[in-house]
Symmetry: D2
Subunit: 360 residues, 4 copies
């Protein structure tokens, strides 16, 4: 390459065509719900404009390539290790990314990270109109200013500086009471904060999973256990308005490693849209065989009622499995009651599902 | 494993769940046409019952895992190197595979390979009722017996013993005139017989791509250039009847490396179903940008009309690309006339397509 | 392909060269010991000559491709589900594989699986001279006949028919006392028999890990958690004699998922040959940084002495990691005492190692 | 992640250990020569301090992870699109990367890109002491200042602005005569400049292959056809002095896609160190079989003398192949004369090698 260009991703060759490493977008497979689009979102990341290591346009291109629908660049207001080398303005990373986002059809959300030691910790304010207005020292004043811009506010990575310091505290209570706290980031990069999930469930706060990435992403082999930590937002439409509305309504799920954390009202239809059971393929005196297709990115783990003990079934991601169930040799097969042990609707509370076997 | 079981592929674990290498089916991505199912078929392969190296059930499981819809096991009648060790019967590989095919919902076609030195060469007869009836020495008598069973007959790998010996010859002419030749296998494993493609086009014979596999398949990383050689059959339904009817009607395409060979009447709608152009994402004085989604397994290569010289565009398989086109700054964008240089509807004859850019 | 040939693996092309899926051998990375070759062996597998699904030559080619040094084909004497279709002779799978083994430089060990319900279970006898002599009904007589051929005898997959049935029993005691039991297969395919490891350790029986494969192998992406279950044999030379001598001396380790099971006397030098610590790369008031290279196929897990609590370190396979240790700012760095928690020299007994940091 | 830290690559976990995507270094496989280390170098790349998109430390970490020995960050002096947002100083990207380079044992070379329209084009000056001294408008004065610092000077990507503009011209001649031109970058990212290779060969200028990367690297699946474009430098030791000395002596080769470009005196011993032929494994009346191990990253292509026509052989990278040669049934096998068609020692001039078959 000779000069850096956003256009380097354009799939036009003059000769022998493109190398296999060409810049392309590959979709993340989570189906839409009957009445909602399933948006794949990462709403927490950094650039060189705070302590990140990439230029803002890189975040858009990564998102496009990795199949995301929406991102927020949330550079710190208060932590600026590059300030000797850079002329920092708090809206600049958003502005620099805007054109690329339009070109690549990525919903770009304006936001910042409010950065304090724990407690109270870090908070993201997104859907802001002017990030710079949040540059003030008084902790609660910052949130008032964010609220005046109708911001969506998330408590980030609660357990980051240790479980003891990262407890739900006075600041959280006060912000919650003032309706200035809308979500908890229960998953951040490689970490999951088990203590924080019930805090969100009890108060009906949205749950978020975010990368909080500072480095460039590498497009390594992506597996159910090894992917960018994301938030699924179930929105009526793929627009900034749709996204915002759905987030304030708590219609989110956090996707972390091979698990989803969310609410029954979204995870149940997501499961139903993801899993398809075939008619019976084979039947013997005490068993029947079906194919089960799993259309999502999770290796779905089921614990199903069995004769003596529960049966464990794994449905690998984006694939069809052959599964055998206990069943009498004749008569319509009974539906199977199962717990989806990696779709969690509360602490240690798996989603309950009923697998119907269609007639052929 | 302690005993060999077809059931080893059943995705049921008693404890920690399945390893990532679990037996699953992954679909091959070629979309259906508006009025036809796109069936992925391999109609030429061998087992230990002739000179292959696997038991017949292996062929079914491979097909299931690799996303195929239909296979024919076509063991040789005349070449039986394992006959000292095996008690060969000509219908046996089909019979042994039948149960697995039913369990895995694979269309299993009965067939054999008629095996002579070139000329005249090897021929497959499929959709037979009794393979054993073809065990006779007289060359034309074999085909009469196949015809009496309404077999579909393919001339296999024409260039196998050299281009000189593999020419269209007297036997081919005679079989064609007697309506006992319905297809040419223009692609066989790693080989493509460029000379044979026009022979098929001129006589409206179906074109086939087959693996002719003798060894076990390995599920290595599959890329557009490196996959099992297959035939796409465009059938009104996914049944043996649907398959057979479509093949006799010539509704096939051969998928070999990163190319498709077929007829305009099937490749044009396949292209249309595979490629989706987005509304304009960006516009400048002389260019516009669109996203183009490619839903099929081929890195599609386009040669599009340009101002001075044709522009080459590559659309990587199962991905979305950003593409820039020359265009004036205003007015509705013109559709783009392109040649799909790896969808071939005749020797050196690329499919012609017209890419429309939708209004947003 | 037109005919099945062992030569299909020969890397000779007539034109554009070989496809990336060409048949090649890739080495398994476990270093040799100072006084022993580290042989990668799978001594338990099946072919169509008992209940396997591949022709014997396939087993040799798989071994070559996958980087093995030695295999034993161990078809059942008593369980012959293909006998209607095949003319079974008990030495035949060995004989058919011999030429390929010579061509591919694989040590081919003659053997069989003695097949009884549990208890007493299945046993492999290898290094036999004539498999057919073991075809007799009397259980102990079989072992006498094996012993007369100086066979090496392994108790296979102890827990296969349930932990209750798979206990060390009278038969095992009797065989052990008669010196007709030399090893226990503590790892078989996906299973590890934790109960059986102490039985081997206490009696100084060799420990084996075997695939017991019946199906064809697929060369999928191989990771530390997902590979063919193997036995490492530490032999003075890479010959059948070297292999045999080392096995009778108990110089083995079982490689199962991301763990090794063996003896201190072999695992300690294997660790030392696999791991290399660099001089100090950086030093601060209380820490130092080193690079650590891991030359083997295991993601090595260390639990090292720390100030307050043990520190966990992971050294990914075939890679170099940067590791930080607590250390004063001056003076020669102290060696670090660690437990290798996935190199097990007894039940729950990790290998103890001492990591020295070389002076630069 | 909560804060950006160079230490995020440290392989220390507090709990379950590291994810498979952990930051590790994997070596590039090109063997050392009998009297030289084979250093893998990328001496042309950019950061946010000119028109690149990453912070300087990212370049070091990428190099470490990808197995490189040396890099030069060569930000433009004259092209500074980020200057509104950044406080640019010409030595700053080097200074910011220095600590990381020391920690990760990467040789970091100070340098800049001298940026003019073609002709004369772009030039890299490396091994500088003070980049800022090159910030002057007079073209030849820049080179005098570089020369006073004993810089190594490369003409970059000759064909970048078209073959016509990128010809060897007056500036090149004048610099060459003043001994201010030491190398030509004949490979740059995806491009190879066939016209430029003879210009280097005729004048004994070193040949370089460089990434000229502006974006972050992605660690995608790396294959012989798809890797970072690099320069191999054959140096007496792995130090900055060793590197510099070897470069001035022209001891380099450019590695681009599946090809090496260099001189006979380095490529011949590199081939010899990479390729190992086994003793004869099998012999028939007119052929013999050997295994050939290829220890380097290139799918080596050989064209060997045959009876009637040359035989083409491909030896896949980092693997062992089985190869059959024509040979009489008895007598010592003759060495085989071959051309290595992708080790090029001049335009269309393959390296000549002689493959000896050792006695067993």
């Amino acid at each position: 390459m000779r000069f850096s260009m956003i256009l380097s991703l354009v799939a036009v060759g003059a000769g022998a065509g493109l190398a296999p490493a060409a810049d392309v977008r590959r979709e993340i497979q989570f189906p839409d719900l009957p009445n909602a689009r399933t948006l794949k979102c990462d709403l927490h990341m950094h650039t060189v404009f705070s302590d990140g290591l990439v230029w803002p346009t890189v975040r858009v291109k990564e998102a496009w390539r990795q199949g995301l629908d929406a991102i927020a660049i949330t550079d710190h207001i208060e932590y600026l290790p590059h300030k000797t080398d850079m002329n920092i303005k708090f809206n600049r990373s958003y502005e620099l990314a805007e054109d690329a986002a339009k070109l690549m059809n990525i919903l770009l959300v304006r936001g910042v990270e409010i950065t304090r030691d724990t407690p109270p910790g870090h908070f993201n304010a997104i859907f802001l109109k002017d990030n710079a207005l949040l540059d003030t020292k008084d902790f609660y004043e910052v949130f008032d200013r964010a609220a005046r811009q109708q911001a969506f506010i998330t408590w980030n990575h609660p357990g980051w500086q240790g479980l003891e310091r990262g407890k739900w505290g006075e600041a959280q209570t006060r912000l919650f009471e003032r309706k200035q706290l809308h979500a908890i980031e229960i998953c951040n990069g490689d970490e999951f904060y088990a203590e924080a999930f019930p805090w969100a469930v009890e108060r009906n706060l949205a749950v978020l999973g975010c990368s909080d990435e500072h480095e460039p992403f590498r497009d390594e082999i992506v597996t159910p256990e090894n992917h960018r930590t994301l938030t699924l937002v179930f929105a009526r439409e793929r627009t900034l308005d749709g996204l915002r509305e759905a987030m304030f309504a708590g219609q989110t799920a956090a996707w972390w490693k091979n698990q989803l954390f969310g609410r029954d009202q979204e995870l149940a239809p997501l499961f139903a849209a993801s899993v398809e059971v075939s008619p019976v393929r084979k039947r013997t005196a005490d068993s029947l065989w079906v194919e089960i297709k799993n259309r999502c990115e999770i290796d779905i783990r089921l614990e199903c009622d069995g004769k003596d003990k529960p049966r464990l079934i794994v449905l690998p991601a984006r694939a069809t499995s052959l599964v055998v169930f206990p069943a009498p040799a004749t008569g319509d097969p009974e539906p199977l009651n199962c717990r989806v042990t990696n779709f969690l609707v509360g602490p240690n509370r798996p989603l309950n599902v009923r697998l119907e076997i269609p007639r052929s």
